[in-house]
């Protein structure tokens, strides 16, 4: 029973909140109305049974709460009437046309969810506030759940959300979908926020996993909603594909002892074939559209990896070409690092180290880990050990530290021929 209510809540909360923010013109009032509807459901459903369309029931109940509030607050009703060209002097809220107009006004429209995404990821908010607000309002997560997922004190997250909402309200942030001129920048902020949620869930293996919400699953859920709402934005599809193809490999990322397993050593039979098939289909759709962007190219790289039946069969020349393309449109040292790793796989450790020579990431753990691996393979043991030591020093994640320590040990005992 509670399971079902939770599932309905997860599915409907963001959608209801999105519509009610438009109707009530206030985030807090909207959250209250949705919470009220779920409280009524929690009380009534066990007695009367779950309604045939639980999602619709919640939406209607929250809408009715909103209408009650509109009626009580006459100034809002007047504003709404002005906005909707209803010029009757005496409004009878129970008359059918009035009631129908109100009903239409609070109809759940998909655009509301988009408005909410752009509001949560407004550039006037800091990235960590965008993430917290997105999870709270769109994901329908409790503040405590978000805090536990990020291993942060609940008070910190609560304050972050309260401040973000207050800033949006005090600044009269509009509830709208950005126009064509600003859409690319604004959409990038939304995509970056969703991907940040995904990577946090993917890499955070510290802490008591059982009590933590799966942020990666949340990010994919929000990514799917966005892909439904903006099917013609190739980067939206690219982001979803990237998340699905990364998620597909997740079951083999850690071994039975919780230690990290690198891509080459992963048990590929444990990769999720459904997610891979779906991800590949999305990547193909992006290729057909031929408007490449950073997320699409990263998804294409993930697709090449998941295409290979064994690590040895990986098409490294294709991966290097994709990294070249990515570096051309979005140059940054992390892309250059990944490209150097791919070059090392394609043309050997010396070529990889040569490609790495231009990369300057002295405080970035993956840089030292990649360099250590290339040096080990090039039989430059002393330098490899030093690079592993630096990488281990920079690692905060226990599974990664365990992995690097084993690699370091391996480098000292069995130096590979070059």
């Amino acid at each position: 029973m509670t399971e079902t209510l939770d599932a309905v809540f997860r599915r409907e909360a963001g959608r209801c909140t999105a519509t009610l923010i438009r109707v009530l013109g206030d985030i807090d009032l909207a959250e209250d109305a949705v919470a009220e509807a779920f409280a009524i459901a929690a009380e009534q459903w066990p007695k009367r049974g779950i309604p045939p369309n639980p999602g619709g029931w919640i939406t209607t109940t929250a809408r009715n709460r909103a209408i009650d509030r509109l009626r009580r607050e006459s100034t809002r009703v007047e504003r709404y009437i002005t906005a909707h060209h209803m010029h009757e002097q005496d409004i009878d809220p129970d008359s059918t046309p009035e009631r129908e107009a109100l009903d239409r006004f609070v109809d759940v429209v998909p655009d509301d969810q988009l408005r909410l995404m752009f509001l949560c990821c407004h550039p006037a908010l800091a990235a960590d506030s965008q993430v917290a607000l997105t999870l709270r309002l769109l994901g329908g997560l409790e503040t405590g759940e978000i805090a536990r997922a990020f291993l942060m004190p609940e008070a910190t997250i609560a304050q972050r959300i309260v401040r973000a909402k207050r800033k949006l309200r005090d600044n009269h942030a509009p509830y709208r979908i950005p126009g064509a001129a600003e859409l690319p920048d604004r959409l990038n902020a939304v995509l970056a926020s969703i991907y940040l949620i995904y990577t946090e869930g993917h890499t955070a293996t510290a802490g008591p996993a059982l009590t933590r919400l799966d942020l990666s699953a949340e990010a994919i859920r929000i990514g799917r909603v966005l892909a439904t709402l903006m099917p013609d934005e190739p980067e939206v599809i690219g982001l979803l594909a990237l998340m699905l193809l990364t998620e597909a490999r997740r079951p083999s990322r850690l071994d039975a002892h919780g230690s990290m397993v690198r891509l080459a050593d992963q048990d590929r039979s444990r990769w999720n074939p459904d997610l891979i098939a779906e991800g590949h289909e999305l990547v193909r759709a992006c290729l057909r559209r031929n408007q490449p962007g950073p997320f699409q190219i990263q998804a294409a790289i993930a697709a090449v990896h998941t295409d290979a039946a064994t690590a040895a069969n990986t098409d490294w020349s294709q991966i290097v070409a994709l990294y070249d393309q990515l570096h051309a449109i979005a140059p940054n040292p992390v892309v250059a690092l990944n490209r150097a790793v791919a070059v090392g796989m394609l043309a050997g450790p010396a070529a990889g180290l040569h490609a790495l020579a231009d990369v300057n990431l002295p405080d970035y753990q993956p840089y030292h880990a990649a360099r250590a691996d290339l040096l080990t393979r090039a039989a430059r043991v002393a330098e490899a050990i030093a690079a592993y030591d630096r990488a281990i020093e920079l690692t905060t994640n226990p599974a990664e530290r365990e992995f690097l320590s084993r690699q370091r040990q391996h480098a000292t005992t069995t130096p590979s021929p070059s």
Binding site: H122, P123, A124, D170, N171, H172, A173, E182
Partner: protein, 115 residues
């Protein structure tokens, strides 16, 4: 309609020599931006300020006031001027601020007024 303070920030010792060609060009750009604000109805008020060293701080202290020389905040960056604009919402205000920043060549802080 909501109103916003757009404040322009400078290094404390910004130049006040308006005779240089750069300063003249800047003045012309800001003047064009001011015209745009007035024509679109966004204009409420605007002013450039003398350097922060010209400021005096007046503080209530019991039943009298004390006065001290200098700006209130002893920071490297000081407000050099401001606009008060009215705009339909934050996004309109930010768009105008972007034009103001381009015209004045420096960062602009956008802050909503109360009420």
């Amino acid at each position: 309609m909501p109103q916003y303070l757009l404040s322009v920030w400078h290094d404390e010792d910004y130049a006040v020599d308006f005779s240089t060609p750069e300063a003249q060009a800047r003045v012309a750009q800001i003047s064009a931006f001011n015209d745009e604000l007035q024509q679109s109805g966004a204009w409420v008020f605007a002013a450039g300020l003398h350097p922060a060293s010209s400021a005096t701080v007046v503080r209530p202290s019991g039943d009298h006031v004390s006065m001290t020389d200098g700006p209130y905040a002893e920071t490297k960056e000081q407000m050099g001027g401001f606009w008060i604009i009215q705009a339909a919402d934050l996004d309109v205000a930010l768009e105008l601020a972007a034009k103001g920043a381009a015209a004045s060549g420096g960062p602009i802080e956008v802050r909503p007024t109360q009420g």
